[in-house]
Amino acid sequence: MNFSFSSDQQLLKNSARAFLDEHMKPATVRLLWDDPRGESEALWKEMGELGWLGLSLPEAHGGSGLGMVETAILLEEMGHAALPGPYLPTVLAARAIEEAGTNAQRMRWLSAIATGEARATLALLDADLDWRPEGTRTRAEKSATGWTLSGTKRFVPWAHVADVLLVPARTPDGLTLFLVDPAAAGLTLEPAQVMDGATRLVTVTLDATPVGGDGVLGAAGQAGPLLASLLRRGAVGAAAEMLGAARRCLDMAVGYAKVREQFGQPIGSFQAIRHKCAEMLLEVENSHAAVYYSAWALDARAEDAELAASVAKAYVGDAARRVCGEAIQVHGGIGFTWEYDLHLYFKRAKALEAMYGDADHHRELIVRRVAA
């Protein structure tokens, strides 16, 4: 039993921190917030060269064959940097293609994703915002050449830069996952503006959008388990990113409390501030335990892996919101200004709280599992 990172894992963490400290300074994050595309294409290429995009893909497809623990290590650092871009949806989609795809689908997408040539995303939510796969309302009908999809997908991350969308839809056979070309006929993209500039969410409307017969991912009618597995990985991944944002906010708050003076003393000497910082550290450390336990459980196919993913998302979502919010409180007025960088991380954590199932959704999953 060893809860610490291996030396390779620690090396990955250190190099990711160093790379993002250099290439994703707060000023760079701000530039991307104002950029219509919202992510850096050059940086994406570099992430491909560093092996980050193929981290958990098989070596045969240009990947490194690593697991969810390593992915979570990277995502924590990305959250720590408030890195804008489609990393999480892309690696989740790649994982699904790797797991369920035909040989042709794998050849088409995996190497392209690993090298940074292609981006992918997941259109999991319909208009009624039900995270359960069975809540899918979008429909797919058989056509002469394959399928036509109709429906509205809401809050699709980074669809405007994606080369392929994973779209679940109902068919007469049941729930089916489709690989959809965003340039296909009848498909429109409508980006929405959200408070976190590092999050880009798009409404995707499908109006009899054609998908070829080779666009079905996995067995038709059998997408439920694959989608549930994607959501679990998404939940753990988002938790890791929120952990990074929370750690950054804690560090900023503690740093500030050591130098900011009021009443002739550093404010960190006051118990009102010190106790707040101690409570924040407690939640960050518990979040660390939750993120890496759940990531390990997925890699090890532990019997409580599904439970742990929900535990991590529910716990870390609440904890990160509190920690980042309390960091603003410790800073006082300066923490409420646009110029001060704290809100980049505060908003990053808040945005992820709602994705891949919010805390309420995961608490219900937990109860179904333990109170059945």
Binding site: F3, K258, S269, R274, H362, E364
Partner: protein
């Protein structure tokens, strides 16, 4: 990172499970003699003194194995060993700071519960500010004369010996004038009065010392080194009970779920109420996080890393969680949760105090954890100063010192 148990630890757990299933008492242990007998049986089987070095009569096993024993005992709701404070922290203090004579005289009898130990630290006016304690020990050559009052002493009425902090130099700064003694509780100058707590039971006592004798050979460390000794051992072995604690919470949780299925409100079982479900989900998520965090601490302990001040995070985390847990349980159960004798519908639950009881008992007990062994506020001071490196607060006693 690898959270699988080693083959040795799995075998150790298997063996402990089989032994406990075969040996755990079926009836409540009523008398002290029965509890001592159970303690000795546990000791002889290798399940008490797990962490103690073999040369002092222990089993020289790992923190992980110690945690496994606690976990397996929780699983079958086994009565605890009797000399918890002695074995958990007074014995280790003697091992680290004691003389050879002290080790030879006290350790084995502590381990076998032939002699029961208690702790004489807190005073009515020295709680969080423990170093302001006023109990005096005057040097009389071959012994010290002890006068003063202690409070919050566990096992007071059954204790044969106590570890005592007393002032031996009233002119020195307060942290520098305290010494640490082993005090015979069975002497005329020591009077123990049980203290009735908000639970209605009396697990703690007040102890009055009037011209009591502490022998010079029972001084631990050097004169006026007491505070330093208390500091180095307060956090000893925090963490090795983490698995057992969470298993107890989890067993209580399944009892709560059972109750929520049986009890009805508004024509349906409580478990079908979305508000109840949300509360259960939140509490269970926190409970699991306690387990993950416990494994993290345990894996560090097992590699020989000392958590140091970070053990304050563990203590703060589980004691505050325990309050939220039982608060949520009582909210879910409504008036049923307030019964202090178990109705037929409910079994007794493990209250995390060593006493079985109802949800109400557990709820009341949960108020103790955030006060004893350094209150939550003290833990947050320690975390702030020693883990986060925040500046020390300006305090009147520091200005004087």
């Amino acid at each position: 990172m690898d959270l699988t148990y080693s083959p040795e630890d799995r075998a150790f757990r298997e063996k402990a499970r089989r032994w406990l299933e075969a040996n755990v008492p079926t009836d409540d242990l009523k008398t002290l003699d029965e509890r001592k007998a159970w303690h000795r049986k546990l000791y002889e089987a290798g399940y008490v003194g797990v962490l103690w070095p073999k040369e002092y009569g222990g089993w020289g096993a790992s923190p992980m194995q110690q945690a496994i024993v606690q976990d397996e005992m929780a699983r079958v709701n086994a009565p605890p060993a009797i000399n918890g404070l002695g074995i958990g922290f007074i014995g280790p203090t003697i091992i680290v700071h004691g003389t050879d004579w002290q080790k030879g005289r006290y350790l084995k009898k502590m381990l076998t519960a032939e002699e029961i130990w208690c702790q004489l630290y807190s005073e009515p006016n020295a709680g969080s500010d423990l170093a302001s304690l006023k109990t005096r020990a005057e040097d009389r050559g071959d012994h010290f004369l002890v006068n003063g009052q202690k409070i919050w002493t566990s096992s007071g009425p059954i204790a044969d010996w106590g570890i005592l902090l007393a002032r031996t130099d009233s002119k020195a700064p307060k942290h520098k004038g305290i010494s640490c003694f082993l005090l015979n509780m069975r002497q005329p100058g020591v009077e123990v009065r049980p203290l009735k707590q908000i639970t209605g039971s009396s697990l703690f006592s007040e102890v009055f010392m009037t011209d009591a004798r502490a022998e010079r050979r029972d001084l631990i460390g050097t004169l006026n080194q007491g505070w330093e000794i208390a500091q180095t051992t307060l956090g000893f072995e925090r963490g090795s009970n983490s698995l057992g604690r969470v298993t107890r919470y989890a067993i209580a949780f399944s009892q709560l779920v059972r109750a929520a299925k049986e009890l009805r409100r508004g024509g349906r079982p409580l478990i079908e109420d979305p508000v109840v479900r949300a509360k259960l989900g939140k509490i269970y998520a926190e409970l699991e996080v306690q387990r993950y965090a416990g494994l993290r601490v345990l894996s560090a302990l097992n590699r020989g890393e000392s958590p140091g001040a970070a053990s304050s995070i563990t203590k703060l985390s589980y004691t505050e969680f325990e309050k939220r847990y039982y608060e949520a349980a009582l909210e879910i159960l409504g008036p049923w949760g307030q019964l202090v004798t178990a109705p037929e519908e409910f079994e007794e639950i493990d209250t995390s105090s060593g006493e079985p009881g109802t949800w109400a008992t557990a709820f009341l007990w949960s108020r103790a954890g955030t006060i004893y062994s350094g209150s939550s506020e003290i833990q947050k001071n320690i975390i702030g100063e020693r883990v986060l490196g925040l500046p020390k607060e300006v305090r009147a006693d520091r200005l004087k010192a």
